[in-house]
């Protein structure tokens, strides 16, 4: 069981630092991903990142660095193809998702020698975050905070109403690509915590859980950061106490919180305003421009 001394262990300090950095990144980016409804795209990017891990092994580069460049490349490709293909990118995402992982599996099998920590790239291990990766995570998180802070208003405009942002002459394509690259960056930050397979869940679950209780994007981001931190620290202590895999523990906690939030959001302040039910006030969504 836990004892008071665990905080003094170096690996524990690293784990807590990693949790804080990852929570900041995924609270901010996760909120944008959830409100923009890009969960599937983000899932594709995060799973395809395994291709970069495999290539890293194959060419003796740090797998995390390989994963970063690979997933940024995948994010840019998806963004550019989406621009050309319009809304029909479901299949593309599915293909990229699987193809990226296939690249990883083949590369790993071609790589010479033993690949000891492959499992930790797939499912994460918060207790084994190397010092070097902490620095990488800190740099990436700082970049995410800085870019979102600098471009907050246009990012809000693009995620809120893409067509209107276009009418206002905002560089919608460039901003969407920025958001995709930030998502890829965030996925890399999450690898050490919950791994490639589970990363999408930690990215999305905190933001989705707080959504029903927040009425503004900045509050949603802040609440997501806090919830992500609570989840990852709880997961960290539970996995330490009961010797469970940390990544999976964090994700299961997140899923449970999300389920509870779905029930509780019926009574949330965000719904307090006005009368009637939501469906009364719902206008039809655009189904596609006339004549296209």
């Amino acid at each position: 069981m836990m004892d008071a001394g665990i905080l003094s262990f170096g690996f524990f300090q690293n784990a807590i630092l990693a949790a804080v950095l990852a929570s900041i990144a995924c609270g901010i980016i996760g909120s944008l991903v959830v409100v923009k409804r890009m969960v599937t795209v983000s899932g594709g990017i995060s799973h395809a990142a395994f291709g970069g891990v495999g290539l890293g092994y194959l060419f003796s580069i740090d797998p995390i660095v390989g994963a970063f460049f690979f997933s940024v490349g995948v994010a840019l490709c998806i963004g550019i193809v989406k621009e050309k293909a319009g809304q029909e990118i479901d299949t593309l995402i599915g293909a990229v998702w699987a193809a990226g992982m296939a690249v990883g599996i083949i590369s790993v099998s071609l790589a010479e020698g033993y690949t000891p920590d492959l499992f930790s790239y797939l499912f994460g291990n918060i207790l084994l975050v190397p010092q070097g990766d902490i620095i990488l995570m800190a740099v990436f998180s700082a970049c995410i905070v800085a870019i979102v802070a600098l471009f907050y208003l246009p990012l809000q405009a693009v995620t809120f109403d893409e067509e209107y942002a276009r009418v206002m002459n905002l560089p919608v394509t460039a901003l969407s690509l920025v958001l995709l690259v930030l998502t890829a960056t965030c996925v890399i930050i999450l690898i050490r915590l919950v791994g490639i397979i589970l990363g999408i869940a930690l990215l999305v679950l905190p933001a989705a859980s707080v959504r029903g209780f927040t009425t503004r994007l900045p509050t949603m981001m802040a609440a997501s950061v806090v919830l992500a931190l609570v989840l990852s620290l709880s997961g960290l202590f539970l996995s330490y106490a009961w010797d469970l895999p940390s990544g999976a523990t964090i994700i299961l906690l997140g899923a449970a919180v999300y389920a509870v939030s779905l029930v509780l959001s019926r009574f949330s302040p965000a719904r307090r305003w006005g009368g009637g039910t939501r469906s009364d006030r719902r206008l039809p969504q655009q189904e596609g421009p006339e004549g296209r």
């Binding site: 208003l153 209107y164 927040t214 006339e290």
Partner: protein, 265 residues
């Protein structure tokens, strides 16, 4: 295109011989129209007649396969900061966490410069002014998701107007709101018209209110007499079937002349 020396005489929106096709289907065929300063121009026609497509070409969101368009003397897309747009359906997500004030303020981004970091005091003043004018001020801090259909419509209108546009383009703005709200909406528009040129699209000839100065029917081709009247031959040409013009309790003046209104300009 013709350009006279007096800029006031130049059409605010000029569409010349525009055609548009998609997937082998002709949607617009040799459409020409001029919207002049101060017009309240109503574009009517059946669903699928190409009205939204024409608006998107005017806004520069779609590129025509033939013909030219100018808006305020510039190619479409260049003058966007001087154009307000009220889309056909809500193009945004109902449950997005944003307040009415934030949504309206976002309409000021068309004036902002890279990297659009902050709203200026002038932006906030403009938002306050338009919220006040549309009687939305008490709702300013509410989340958009808590608005009724009519309130959302006014919020969308406020976002379109907050940039002080010279032209307002509305695409079926009242389809999903009830009749009293619709009347209120058109009263607001009438009030705003003094400083605006308005281009309004509808599939429902019933919305053609007494405010309209010119009207045209669009069903792939454009049918117009360059007047505020809808004539039966225009309607029948556009809808390709006889239409009962009395149907929706349309003001009687839709048919035939009405002294003192519209007329030659």
């Amino acid at each position: 295109m013709t350009r006279t020396g007096d800029p006031r005489m130049r059409p605010v929106i000029e569409v010349s011989d525009v055609s548009f096709g998609h997937n082998g289907k002709v949607i617009l065929e040799h459409v020409s129209l001029k919207v002049r300063k101060g017009d309240f121009f109503a574009l009517i026609g059946p669903n699928g007649g190409g009205k939204t497509t024409l608006l998107k070409i005017i806004l520069g969101l779609l590129v025509p396969s033939g013909g030219t368009v100018t808006v305020l003397g510039q190619p479409p897309g260049r003058a966007r900061s001087r154009v307000g747009y009220v889309p056909q359906f809500r193009t945004y997500d109902f449950s997005y966490p944003i307040t009415v004030r934030e949504m309206v303020l976002s309409g000021r981004l068309s004036h902002a410069r890279f990297p659009w970091a902050r709203y200026t005091p002038a932006d906030h003043e403009a938002a306050d002014r338009i919220l006040e004018r549309l009687r939305m001020a008490p709702l300013a801090e509410r989340p958009v998701s808590a608005l009724s259909g009519g309130e959302q419509q006014r919020a969308i209108l406020a976002r379109a107007l907050v940039g002080n546009p010279e032209v307002l383009i509305l695409d079926e703005p009242t389809v999903y709101i009830d009749a009293p709200t619709e009347v209120h909406f058109y009263n607001i528009l009438e009030d705003l018209r003094k400083d605006l040129t308005v281009l309004l699209v509808s599939h429902d000839i019933g919305v053609i209110s007494r405010h309209v100065t010119r009207v045209a029917c669009l069903n792939r081709r454009l049918f117009t007499h360059d007047s505020p009247e809808i004539t039966e031959d225009m309607i029948e040409a556009a809808y390709q079937c006889p239409v009962d013009l009395i149907a929706h309790g349309i003001p009687h003046r839709v048919l035939g002349d009405h002294p003192g209104e519209g007329g030659s300009r």
